[in-house]
Amino acid sequence: MFEQFFADPRTVLLGTITGLVFGFLLQKGGVTRYNVIVNQFRFRDFTVLKTMLTAIVVGAVGVYAMLQFGMIKGLSVKSAELAMNAGGGLVFGVGMVLLGYCPGTALAAVGQGSRDAAVGILGALVGAAVYAEAYPWLARVVEPVWKFGKVTFADVTYVSPWWFIAGLAAFAIGLFVVLEKRERRGAVV
């Protein structure tokens, strides 16, 4: 695995810059805090959902616009293997609540002094090694179930992606308005 350990300097530099900005944003947003993440799942703090939905809508507008104008070659969609995606999601949710961070926010949390996040990362490394051993079985039994490949909702419905983006934006803005109103009243949602 060590034939060529490092990628070219440009790739590593761009990755480093991306990580610096991403880590800075996550920490400023408070989504690197255990309390904030766990309280999202208890509907007591909506910081995580507000951050993610905003990022998704803003990201979607820019990325699909660049695609439309030929500024990027294509998307980078992960394969729909719905039994794996859904099953993995169910497992992930339990881990996220128990640890209180997701993989990216755990790394960022280490930077703000959260020692439990560092312990979680150790567990995650062991989990990755164990997953590699379990993969051949999962690939044979679970992966083929509901496998549709690298598709988007626009692909499978033959509807313009802009309709989905508009719908998502409307949903997000509606949700934000309701949440902000409730939070101003000081109500526990």
């Binding site: 990628a7 480093t16 309390n35 910081t47 507000k50 990022a55 507008v61 859904a86 099953g87």
Partner: protein, 191 residues
């Protein structure tokens, strides 16, 4: 500008816009989507490789994630590995500038529910981390790769993951912390 960088906390909408724009940059300049969890496989594989290199070379998963077209492996210290490592530094800078850096072993919400034991918290964090990555690799991504990057691309895989992980997390949180307003913890979100 400096005043803004020194603020302890930014609005989630500002941060969300920032992450959205960052994702434009990764697509435009690097042809890549933000993601963090694949590198855990690379790091784990590298560790296993120091003991059992043949085993790693024959494992279908390491080959799937890192196999090069002409045989052998692609570099492990790649774009995402650099990103993952600098996430720590980026958050450190933000915390220092905002004066929110503090060494903490047991988060307050955890302590309210499960007590101040560091050992207990670390055990849960270790097991949680294990489960987290197992789920992420099974699903093919995590909150960033699927949640944000896949979500913004309208990927069927990613929204399936997003919904199932959220439902699972809500149930897990209810089981761990109790239901509704009677549940433990005031829900105070510390900066």
């Amino acid at each position: 500008m400096v005043g803004f960088l020194r603020r302890p906390r930014w609005s989630p909408y500002v941060v969300g816009i920032g992450i959205g724009v960052l994702s434009w940059a990764t697509f435009y300049f690097m042809g890549k989507a933000l993601g963090t969890s694949t590198s855990f496989v690379g790091a784990a594989g590298s560790a296993v490789c120091t003991i059992a290199p043949e085993h790693v070379a024959e494992n279908a998963y390491y080959v799937k994630e890192y196999g090069a077209k002409g045989g052998g492996f692609k570099p492990i210290f790649d774009w995402q590995m650099a990103l993952d490592i600098s996430l720590v530094l980026g958050a450190f800078l933000a915390a220092v500038l905002g004066r929110t850096f503090r060494a903490e072993s047991v988060p307050t919400l955890w302590a309210e529910r499960f007590g101040p034991s560091v050992g207990k918290r670390y055990a849960a964090a270790f097991v949680g981390g294990f489960i987290l990555i197992f789920g992420a690799r099974m699903a093919g991504g995590c909150t960033s790769g699927h949640g944000i990057s896949g979500g913004l691309q309208l990927a069927v895989s990613s929204w399936t993951f997003f919904v199932s992980m959220f439902v699972s997390g809500v149930v897990a949180a209810a089981v761990l912390f109790g239901f509704g307003a009677r549940g433990a913890g005031k829900g105070v979100s510390h900066v």
